[in-house]
């Protein structure tokens, strides 16, 4: 569904990604792992079209999408829930969700999707009239995920959804991700919580200093000594 070949990118003179290859098949949950500043967000932003790659190709459902703008990619169902929530703080929860369905494609199913999101995340229904900026971190993350679902994603890229959340709340976030996966949505999950991510994933990639250092099935990575040393402290 999503095939990335030889992708390099950076900011100004600094190259961050070096020849990254990555594939996500339909219905899979892929974990993208790596330490801080490894380039995970940069990779996701390249796929979304927010960062322009210097070389390489991004193929989505058989089409090269390198030349498409960010909003055109959203309109094709390539959706990102970005790191750090980044809601529209002065808007209500309901407005944030509605904006998730901004693309022509998603607008057609806005009613069904809103019902689905509210039944998935009932807290959002309770808080729908509240300003998004006034919610707690965990609730904001739920709005961010709900906003992503409103976009009717074919592939949902979640960038560290548990970042900065208390363990109990991270747990709730992971359960939500699991439920989304069970709905048949293809997911690319960026996580620092390696064990949790690999428990849900079918396969994973480990990014180190902008290069894919290892990849394989979730089981293989969980047993990999290098991965265990680097990310699980074992």
């Amino acid at each position: 569904m999503l095939i990335i070949r030889g992708l390099s990118a950076g900011y100004g003179d600094i190259q961050v990604l070096h020849e990254v290859n990555l594939t996500v098949d339909k219905g899979e949950l892929i974990a993208l792992l790596g330490a801080n500043a490894a380039g995970k967000t940069t990779l996701i932003n390249c796929i979304s079209g927010l960062v322009k790659e210097t070389s390489g190709t991004i193929e989505f459902e058989g089409d090269a999408i390198n030349a498409l703008t960010a909003y055109e990619r959203v309109n094709r169902g390539l959706i990102q829930v970005c790191e750090g929530r980044n809601l529209f703080p002065l808007m209500t929860v309901a407005e944030n969700l509605q904006l998730g369905a901004y693309s022509q494609r998603a607008r057609q199913r806005i009613k069904e999707n809103l019902e689905m999101v509210y039944s998935f995340l009932p807290i959002l229904f309770e808080r729908r009239k509240q300003k998004a900026g006034s919610l707690s971190g965990g609730q904001q993350q739920m709005v961010a995920i709900g906003r992503g679902l409103m976009a009717d994603p074919k592939i949902l890229m979640l960038d560290e959804p548990s970042l900065g959340l208390a363990p109990v709340i991270s747990q709730a976030v992971f359960e939500t991700v699991q439920k989304i996966k069970e709905q048949g949505v293809t997911i690319l999950l960026v996580e620092q919580n390696v064990v949790k991510a690999l428990q849900m994933a079918s396969r994973g990639y480990v990014l180190e200093n902008g290069r894919i250092n290892s990849s394989g099935s979730a089981g293989e990575l969980l047993d990999d000594d290098g991965v265990r040393k680097a990310y699980m402290g074992i």
Partner: protein
């Protein structure tokens, strides 16, 4: 500031163009300003679209001084172009309606000014509805609150910038013809309007439509009262004094959110 994070120093010159447009439409074709406004609005909207696309767009995301220089340069060019084409003369039009008044008992109100007042309130209300109840309006608000997230929602932010900018110039397309019967136009007239508009927007609180409307009324009342009771020459000094006091005691403006300082 605002949606695009730019300050357009040529804003006043667009008002100047709008005033000239209604002036020439009256001179050549005898179209009453209250009619020509329907022509000037789309003209100014189009001009805004073109300016944004070709002059402002290339400056977005660049260091701040670049758009300052571009819009300041544009302002100087437009002033001099007007001077060259239409001379520095003060020009005005004679319509009988200009001196029309409506009387409420002892109070008599200038009808053209009353029209301006009511149109301004109506337009402010329409903008409020547009921003809160349409997809494009919400996209504009979203873009002003978080540009990256807006793109991830599938919003074409270039289109948002274009529409926002052009709506701004279209509003000047309303202001020009409505001001023409009671005002005059000359190449540098934009500056005095921009100055007071700037004070109103900052005093009301950046980004607050309600604040800007109320601050404008406050300035109007202060201007009139100080002109009447003190000295007409003191009019501007008094509201600038109030402006300074507001900036000292509530830097975010009367209706501004805390932390959103100029």
């Amino acid at each position: 500031m605002g949606v695009m994070d730019i300050t357009n120093f040529a804003h006043g010159e667009y008002l100047m163009l709008s005033l000239y447009a209604s002036f020439w439409l009256f001179e050549f074709f005898h179209i009453d300003p209250y009619l020509s406004v329907l022509l000037v609005i789309p003209l100014m909207f189009l001009l805004g679209l073109l300016t944004e696309k070709f002059l402002i767009r290339p400056t977005i995301g660049k260091p701040m001084f670049i758009h300052i220089f571009v819009t300041l340069g544009l302002s100087v060019i437009l002033q001099n172009l007007a001077l060259l084409l239409w001379s520095g003369n003060f020009r005005t039009i004679q319509v009988p309606f200009a001196t029309h008044t409506i009387n409420f008992g002892d109070i008599s109100i200038s009808t053209p000014r009353l029209i301006i007042f009511m149109v301004t309130l109506t337009v402010a209300y329409l903008i409020h509805l547009f921003l809160n109840y349409t997809w494009m309006g919400k996209a504009i608000r979203a873009t002003s609150q978080n540009r990256n997230s807006a793109q991830l929602m599938g919003i074409n932010i270039n289109r948002v910038f274009m529409v926002t900018f052009a709506l701004g110039t279209a509003c000047l397309g309303i202001a020009g013809p409505l001001l023409m019967p009671i005002y005059y136009v000359y190449p540098t007239i934009g500056f005095q309007f921009v100055l007071v508009a700037f004070v109103a927007v900052v005093m009301g609180g950046l980004g607050s439509v309600k604040g800007a409307v109320l601050a404008s009324m406050l300035i109007g009342i202060i201007e009139t009262l100080s002109g009447y009771f003190l000295d007409p020459a003191m009019k501007q000094a008094i509201y600038f004094l109030l402006f300074i006091l507001v900036l000292i005691f509530k830097p975010s403006g009367i209706f501004g959110e805390e932390g959103k300082v100029v």
